[in-house]
Assembly symmetry: C2
Homo-oligomer: 199 residues x 2
């Protein structure tokens, strides 16, 4: 009564199970046996679909990239683009904490084999690059405060997502996450914008 699935389908199931395990139970449980149990097969069968654990971590990174980097918009008002990017990240943090913790944890990259650190760093860099491009364009269009240091702002924006991630996890937010997502972003946005002029 065993259910047979195509290798391609199983590979995705295995990658998703791995993501779930890492997010929920931590790296220590990221083992072939645990993944197999989650998927509903025996641990040995895992290696009929993947050559070794390293290949699984590669698939995990591919999948994270696929799930998280949902092609940010490249048109329209730069601050609107940034807003939709940030809000989408904040939302993914609130709904799938495991995903985000895969990116914002150097521990993960340690555990993800040799090229793990570089790949995860590259993922983070893509996010930073997008934020930077939005901010630069906004600056050109004179939408930001005159004295704003773009590079610092990039750190602030990307950091905000992380700060939100942990605040939500620690239940340190004074209001429901859905509400706080917008509230935090609006606070940052108003601080970036040139809604106020120098005295």
């Amino acid at each position: 009564m065993t259910t047979r699935k195509s290798s391609e389908e199983r590979r995705r199931e295995i990658a998703d199970a791995a993501i779930k395990i890492i997010g929920e139970r931590g790296l220590r449980e990221f083992t072939a046996a645990q993944i197999a149990r989650e998927v509903g097969i025996k641990d040995g069968t895992i290696f009929r679909h993947f050559k070794n654990m390293n290949e699984i971590t590669g698939a995990v990174l591919d999948r994270v990239q696929e799930l998280l980097v949902s092609a940010p918009r490249s048109t329209g008002d730069p601050l609107e683009r940034l807003e939709s990017f940030v809000l989408s990240r904040l939302h993914s943090v609130a709904t799938q904490p495991g995903l985000q913790s895969l990116i914002f944890s150097d521990q993960i990259s340690h555990a993800l084999g040799d090229e793990g650190p570089r790949r995860v760093a590259a993922l983070r860099d893509r996010g930073r690059a997008f934020v930077r491009s939005c901010l630069c364009e906004a600056a050109e269009k004179d939408l930001l405060r005159d004295d704003l240091d773009i590079e610092s702002a990039v750190v602030l924006v990307t950091g905000m997502v992380m700060g939100f991630l942990f605040a939500a996890k620690d239940e340190a937010l004074p209001a429901p996450v859905g509400e706080m997502e917008k509230r935090v972003w609006m606070t940052l946005r108003s601080m970036l914008e040139r809604t106020q002029v120098k005295s």
Copy 2:
């Protein structure tokens, strides 16, 4: 020719070695054998000083707390206090990345036994509480923008430290970390302060 040390001394050595290993090589290497090698003893000897691995993780948390929470000032200008707190954290990030990654990684808390998550969350909460108290006092003294949402600002400040941590790690900063520490903080500070008035 074996070097004997007091249990108290060894316990600290073991905790420090564990911190070093976690920070540099990741959770996967956080094992009795690796710690023992780092300290220079056999793995079995570890358990002459600790009952089990869980007790080691407890000691690790104690040590992190001891090293990181260096009694933030409670007097003086609230924004100055906040600045010294943030700069000290940024500096510890730059110099001892392992320490910070122990706090800002939910993976660690997963691996740190049953009470691990709660203890790490409590550490983070202490940081947030300090930031919040500084900001509240600053708001009372009318040092901040009128429309500033304190709770959002807490997320921004704590998140900034994390954003800086990863930017530094990924070498995504356009200037040396020592310089960027102040630059990023000054950017955030000027955005929080009421240096500008509404038009």
